[in-house]
Structure formats: C-alpha cells, structure tokens
C-alpha cells in the first residue's frame, strides 16, 4: 500500500519519538480532562484522544494513543496539532476532510480521518458531561 510522504513522515516521527509527539495519557478521572475512545479492535483501529481544558474552555494539552494502520496514527497526530490551543468551539468545527486533505489520504483510508473527528467530538462530550 503506497502512503503519501506526509503520512510516512508523521508515522515515523511518532514511532521514533512518542513522548515528544503527544503520545501518552492524561488522568481520565480529572475534571479538566475529556476522553474520547472510538473504533474497535475487530475493525482494525482504535483511537483514544484525551484533552485537557482550562477554565476558559481552551484546550491546553492533548494526548493520544492509536491502534491502527499508519494512516490512523498519522491522522491522530495531525488532529492533535490542529487541536492544541483551540477553544472547544473551534475544536468542534474541525472536519475529517481537513485532516484527510493535509495528509493526502487515499479514499480507502478516509475512515482514519473520520475516526479522528469522532474522537474529538467524544472527548469534548466527555469533558462537558463532567462540567454539567
């Protein structure tokens, strides 16, 4: 399977230096952390995104872990870069198509970017449910 150079670059950076590339986890029980886990092992990808949000609804930190193909891992990384420093409202407006475009994902891999968008929505929902 031929991957775009961008996917390969992101994948390899993440693989070789995970801690510098937002791989990890935040305390899921903290009130300021929202967790979104999407996908299923049987389908070949699972993405877990965690966001830390300050009192002004701004995302101050994000961590992820992803089980899946190179494109899924690269999509997670791309998503995190787009999320950092954004407000929740801005984050909510991130579309899978933007991620796919930036990574030049082929049609067969579009579900990776869809998964990334879903994980953002779920992480925000989890955070907001703690505030409610």
């Amino acid at each position: 399977m031929a991957y775009s150079r961008k996917v390969i670059k992101k994948f390899e950076e993440t693989l070789n230096n995970p801690s510098a590339n937002n791989v990890g986890r935040l305390d899921p029980n903290s009130d300021s952390v929202g967790t979104g886990m999407v996908g299923a092992p049987a389908c070949g990808d699972v993405m877990r995104l965690q966001i830390e949000v300050d009192s002004e609804n701004k995302i101050t930190d994000c961590k992820f872990k992803t089980y899946g193909c190179g494109s899924a891992i690269a999509s997670s990384q791309q998503m995190i870069e787009m999320l950092k420093g954004k407000t929740l409202d801005e984050a909510r407006s991130i579309k899978d198509r933007e991620i796919a475009k930036l990574l030049e994902l082929p049609p067969i891999k579009l579900h990776c970017s869809v998964l990334a968008e879903d994980s953002i929505k779920k992480a925000i929902a989890d955070y907001e449910s703690k505030k409610a």
Binding site: F11, V23, G39, A40, A42, C43, V46, G68, C69
Partner: protein
C-alpha cells in the same frame, strides 16, 4: 533495482535463479532457440520442441510422474481453473457437488464461486485450529453426487500441510476426482505422484526460482482423468490447453524444477535452521501468537500475530523488510486475513498477522537483523497502542463494548 530492503516474502514469489535465467535467455534471440515448438517443418521448430520436452521430463521427474501427464499453463491460477472447471464440466453427468475448503487460495475459491453461479453446489470446509483439513472432517461432507474435491497441499499463509496421501486413498476408493493446489509445495516437501492418489495437481514456476507467468497442471493417466478445456485454438497440449508454447518460460520452469531436485535437501536444511533461529529470537516477545502448528508446517513460512499491534502499521514500521500481511492478492484491501478468520482467530489477531517467508538466498545476518527490528517495532507500536495500555491495566478487551464502524 537494488534496495537495502531485506526480502522475506519468498512465499509470494521468488527471484529467478541465475542458472534458470541463463537457460531462458538461450531461447529468445535469433542465434538462440527461438522457434515455435509446434513448427513441424523445420529445424527451428524441432529444436524448440526438444527443449520443451526436456523441461516436461524435468518437471515430471521431480514429482515422479510420466511426462505425458504434464500440461503447460500460464501459472498455478490457470492450472487451478483448468482442473476445477475442466473436471466439474467434464464429469457433470456424475453429479454436481464439489468440496473445497475456506482457506484455499483465491485461484481455487473464485473458480468454485463461478461454478456455483453455473449451478454446481460447493461445500467449503472449515479447517481445524492449525489450518489443516482432516480426512475425518472431509468424510462428513461427501455425498452421493460429489464429483470433485479440491484442497491445497500447503497453505500459503500458514505453511500448514494437508495429508494428501490419506485423502487421496479415500477419494480414489470413492471414485471422486481429487485436485491438489501444490503451488507452495515445490522445493519444500517431497511429492511422489506414483504413490499419492492425486488426480490433478497445480504447480507454479515462480514460487521455486523460475519465471512468473508459467505453471503446469498434472493430469493423471492411470486411471485416466479427463477435462473440458478452457482455452481453444489449435489443440496444443493434447487439447487441454491451446496456444503457442512459451519456450523460454517452459525451459525456465524445467530448469528450476531440476535445480530443486538437486538442491532441495540442502536448501531445506538451511531454511529450517534459519527458521528455528528466527523463532528463538522472536518467541520471547510478549503476547506473540504463532499461527499454524509448528509440528505440521513447512519451515519456510512463519506466520505470527502480535496482539494489540495492527498488522499494516507493523509492516509500515518494518520499512526495510519485505513481509506480507495475509496474502499478496488481498493486501490492498482492509479485510483481515480470511485464512486466520477461518481458523477461528479473533478479528483483532487476524488484523495483526504477519507472514515472514524465507528462501534460497536468505542469510543468517538478515534473519538476525529482521528479528531485532521486529522486537523493536512491536515494542514501539505497543507504546502507541491504547489496547496495550488496557491490557496492562488488566482490562478484558472482550468485555469492552466497542463502537463498530
């Protein structure tokens, strides 16, 4: 093309042996043996026919058959098509039931599907957990109207071996045509068709250091097996397969088979040692699963799953190593291996299977390097894997409710 990548995908295809390439080259140019083997009126034709018949003997010799039982084809896929469709159509008056298995190559499964569309009934057997079709399992599905059984000798993904002698004795007694796809067998396991009651057997040249686009079908003479031809146009190959014979390809296959006969023992000894060395190196990785049974498989194929690591990402991380996930024909799709699924492996393990296959030119240095790389990237990918986290936290993944998509 020279790359620094290490080739560990010999079960997909092999490079042509230089000695084979040399023989093939002799049959191409004006000053070489380029004639049409079917030309009866001049020396060019006679000389070409001579080397084609020599190659037929070389192929027959390796499998202990009569050279008149060898039909040249364009590869194992065509051989499988000719055997399955050809026998089913010829013997359709006897019945319309065919038996095969769920872990056959697509070159067998797809012709069977086609026959179903044409009114035949096909039973697809489940393998046991090691990827083997046992005679006992087969017997349960044989019916009065069963005319053909098609099973592979060695599974291309797992390397598991079916006992074709035992099955052949049974099919002979029942007067059922027995076809065996032996594309993965040549050079790995002995075949003696004077002893095995196999009626039709498919071979490929490129899996054993011969050229691609070349194969053969063994068609038994005693008792005589008949087929309806698929390709018409001149009645070459005793009517089984028309078309001008590709002298250079045929000579390549003959030479490749003759080299196998000479060097199989030596090659296999080396590959077995390398394979054991490889397994010693990687078997210490946590949560590694060997697919197939070590006691009943060919040494050149090692198929493993690393739990909580997805196969495609593993292949991408093993960037200087050529391996495959599932079979080469299906690696463009997102489906997990249908072979592993048929063994009853959970989908996530089927998603994470990697086939390492060694061959004649594999070195110990390469095996060592690949084992080291594999250990490293599995560790790296697990560090990225939320499933590995959950596993370490003691979460039972089977009990998690996943949102399937």
């Amino acid at each position: 093309m020279r790359t620094k990548a290490i080739y560990f995908d010999y079960a997909a295809t092999t490079p042509v042996d230089p000695r084979v390439a040399k023989k093939m080259h002799e049959c191409l140019l004006l000053d070489g043996n380029f004639g049409n083997p079917a030309s009866r009126s001049h020396e060019f034709g006679w000389k070409a026919e001579e080397v084609v018949e020599k190659a037929r003997l070389q192929v027959a010799d390796l499998i202990n058959a009569d050279s008149r039982e060898i039909v040249w084809t364009s590869g194992a896929t065509e051989s499988d098509n000719l055997a399955i469709k050809g026998a089913a159509k010829f013997y359709k008056d006897r019945g319309n039931h065919i038996i095969t298995s769920k872990i056959e190559h697509k070159a067998v499964l797809d012709p069977c599907r086609q026959l179903e569309r044409e009114g035949f009934e096909v039973t697809y057997l489940d393998p046991d957990e090691d990827g083997v079709i046992t005679l006992e399992a087969l017997k349960k599905h044989v019916k009065e109207n069963t005319i053909l059984i098609s099973l592979m000798h060695i599974n291309n993904e797992l390397g598991s071996i079916n006992d074709i002698d035992k099955i052949g004795d049974f099919t002979r007694e029942k007067n059922i045509i027995f076809h065996v796809d032996a594309a993965q067998s040549i050079g790995k396991i002995n075949i003696d068709l004077s002893k095995s009651n196999v009626d039709l057997m498919s071979f490929s040249a490129h899996k054993c250091y011969g050229p691609k686009g070349m194969g053969a079908l063994y068609v038994r003479r005693k008792p005589r097996v008949r087929l309806e031809a698929l390709i018409h146009g001149g009645g070459h190959e005793r009517g089984f397969r028309s078309g001008t014979l590709a002298t250079h390809q045929i000579v390549g296959m003959g030479e490749a088979f003759s080299l196998v006969k000479k060097e199989m023992e030596k090659d296999n000894k080396k590959i077995k040692e390398l394979s054991e060395f490889f397994w010693d190196q990687i078997s210490g990785i946590e949560e590694i699963v060997l697919n197939g049974n070590k006691k009943n498989k060919v040494a050149n194929i090692t198929n493993v799953s690393f739990s909580y690591v997805e196969g495609e990402s593993l292949i991408m991380a093993l960037k200087d190593v050529a391996v495959s996930s599932g079979s080469a024909c299906t690696s463009a799709s997102l489906e997990p291996s249908y072979v592993l699924r048929a063994l009853g492996r959970p989908d996530e393990l089927a998603h994470s299977s990697i086939r390492f296959s060694f061959g004649r030119f594999t070195t110990k240095e390469e095996v060592k390097m690949v084992a080291e790389t594999t250990k490293r990237v599995v560790r790296q990918l697990r560090e990225l894997s939320p499933l590995w986290d959950m596993h370490l936290d003691g979460v039972d993944l089977e009990k998690v409710e996943w949102a399937h998509h």
